[in-house]
Amino acid sequence: MSPTSRLPLDPYLPAIGSPLTIEYDLQHGRVSQVRVSLGYAQRGIEHLAKKQNIWQNLILLQRICGICPISHTLCFCQTLESLAKVQIPRRAAYLRTLVAEIERIQSHLLPLICLAAHLNASSSCLRLLFEAREAAAAMLCLLTGKRVNYDVNQIGGVRVDLKKAEVAQTMLSMLGSFDRPLDEARGSLLRHERLKGLGFLSSQAAESSLATGPVARASGLARDLRKEGGGYAAYPELKFQIPTSSRGDVLARYEIRILEIIESIRMIRQILSSLPQGKLSVDPPPLLLPGQAAGSVEAPRGENHYQLTLSAHLQIEQIKITTPTEYNLEALKMMLMDAQPEDVPLIVASADPCYACLER
């Protein structure tokens, strides 16, 4: 029997750019066992949430993740609104959807940037992708006043408004700036033969490991909470498709992300052209009710699930957050089985783990 060597992919290495340790055993030059150790970025969000009031919690839960902040507050607000039986105004639902979709674009661009860096892509390609991300951040800044950690949601509506027609016009024109980077990514990055068949995840494995988001959709599972169960926010009123692929490899996961960006751009066009008039928030502010509730939204990386209990004093008594990376971690282990050590960073990047969401 050949000796087993244990190799760590340590935190603070530029390979994955996150403080997360992935340790794997090598046998016959192939990965045989994978362990993930966490704890570098844990901040105790659930513990802190119990100490603060609802208003402060909106700000706190937003800081779980800097890549998908709105998916967290959206989930929190929807859970509390379902508890209080509040129907938010249509304009608020559209604005929430708008921010969520721009966020999806900028979140999906990040693994592409990661891929370009891994494959030593030309600096012009890298620059194009970075510029696309800057464009998405600029759109968020136009709408909310901040590039990252935009405090948009409040219980019963939103805090920002799209008042001027010029802003909508500028945003529409900015949507065109995503075409070239996406073509470039498809043309040069996804041509690499190396990506084909790499990190395979069968649809049965995806099913059994509870994979979610683009990882599940790349393995042929058409799962998306925006469509399932009637959707939420303004999604039932928008026309969009859920791209799926049956190949289940690294290439498929990136292709799904690019297709999702294109779908998001379609949705943003629809929202900007038919933004309903009306109030931004429920007036008077909704009366919260104590009780237990659960809610889920489709974050860029997959399902984001909140379960909480509100006490009689309207303090959070108990809260359980489940983020997409938690679901996808088992799938990631399956993908890494039998991989060659040089492919490990590529496969990890294709699953797009978010350590900030994962550890909280």
């Binding site: 530029p14 403080p19 901040r43 208003w55 700000i59 800081r63 800057e134 805090r159 350590y355």
Partner: protein, 329 residues
């Protein structure tokens, strides 16, 4: 700013070499990470000064640190700090690193740079002590997250410090993002109550007393501020404004604090201290100023007085007529 080497001209060979930056992510939401990544684009678009990210601490000109630090990550940071060149510059980025903000009350989280901010506090909590003293940054860039322009400007300034850039190239104005109009403030303390980062403090400041009157000191710690604008939304008089732009780069964390002073006056009736009423605001809201004596009563005495005056509707009306006659309008 302490300029340690000769200032170089754009023709200097050192100017064209990229500035090597070692990024240490102590663990946080990842917001700072993306803004730091945007430096790549700034560097690509820049004419002269460029930076590059390095993975070996030995070859770094600058350590860039962000995020809230956990015990596990602290061990890693400590091991890294031994490997840096002693002349290496240190830059702290973001509210978590400088002040701990939201997460410091979780107990085991430390703001890696707050140890150097003795005396003034990250979030005005005297019971909380930062265990980490090793990392003393040369420059602080605040924000949640800071804008890439600010981080880029911070890099410029540190490059200038080590003689890589001329002083002219790194000059910038330091502006605030919080605007406080003390003449409008009621001193109600709503902002202090709601602030999730505990970045606002109202305190009695005897040392700032003018004459006999005391005063209330209002402090806004921009280093801890998350710019969530809850305070701005709740402020009844609008004395607090968050601006969209501003340059939050300072050499010491203490300099991030914006201060305002509310003068205290004695109540006409009970002689207790109270915040002087913001006359401009009252004039704006009511259209005209009420009786001067009315403004010099503390809230409790004002309630009692109004209850007395308005014992009956007739008496109330009579009082109103009296007031109008006195003011001659």
């Amino acid at each position: 700013m302490n300029v340690a080497g000769e200032c170089s001209s754009p023709n200097d060979p050192r100017y064209s070499q990229p500035y090597s930056v070692f990024v240490f992510n102590a663990g946080g939401c990842g917001g700072c990470e993306f803004e730091v990544l945007s430096l790549f684009l700034h560097s690509q678009q820049s004419e002269g000064f460029r930076c590059k990210f390095v993975s070996q601490p030995e070859s770094a000109d600058l350590i860039l640190l962000f995020g809230s630090l956990k015990r596990e990550a602290y061990q890693v940071l400590k091991a890294f700090l031994l490997r840096f060149n002693p002349t290496c510059q240190r830059l702290a980025v973001g509210a978590c690193a400088i002040a701990g903000t939201l997460f410091k009350s979780a107990g085991w989280i430390a703001a890696p740079c707050a140890g150097t901010a003795q005396g003034l506090p990250h979030a005005f909590d005297s019971s909380w002590q930062n265990p980490i003293q090793e990392f003393s940054p040369n420059l602080y860039v605040a924000g949640c997250p800071p804008t890439p322009e600010d981080i880029w400007q911070g890099l410029h300034r540190l490059a200038c410090c080590s003689g890589r850039l001329s002083a002219e190239a790194a000059r910038g104005v330091e502006t605030n993002r919080i605007e406080f109009h003390s003449e409008l403030c009621l001193g109600c303390g709503l902002c202090q109550q709601i602030c999730p980062a505990q970045a606002i403090r109202l305190s009695i400041a005897q040392e700032l007393a003018v004459g006999e009157a005391g005063s209330i000191l209002v402090e806004f710690n921009q280093a801890a501020c998350l710019f969530c604008s809850l305070c701005e939304q709740l402020c009844p008089t609008g004395c607090l404004k968050l601006r969209g732009s501003g340059t939050l780069i300072r050499q010491r964390p203490q300099e991030f604090v914006v201060r305002g002073c509310l003068s205290l006056v004695r109540c006409l009736n009970c002689q207790g201290w109270m915040v002087a009423m913001p006359k401009d605001f009252i004039k704006q809201t009511l259209g005209s100023l009420p009786d001067q004596r009315w403004l010099e009563l503390c809230p409790t005495c004002r309630k009692i007085a109004s209850a007395r005056y308005l014992k009956t509707a007739a008496e109330g009306l009579q009082h109103l007529h009296q007031l109008i006659q006195e003011r001659g309008c």
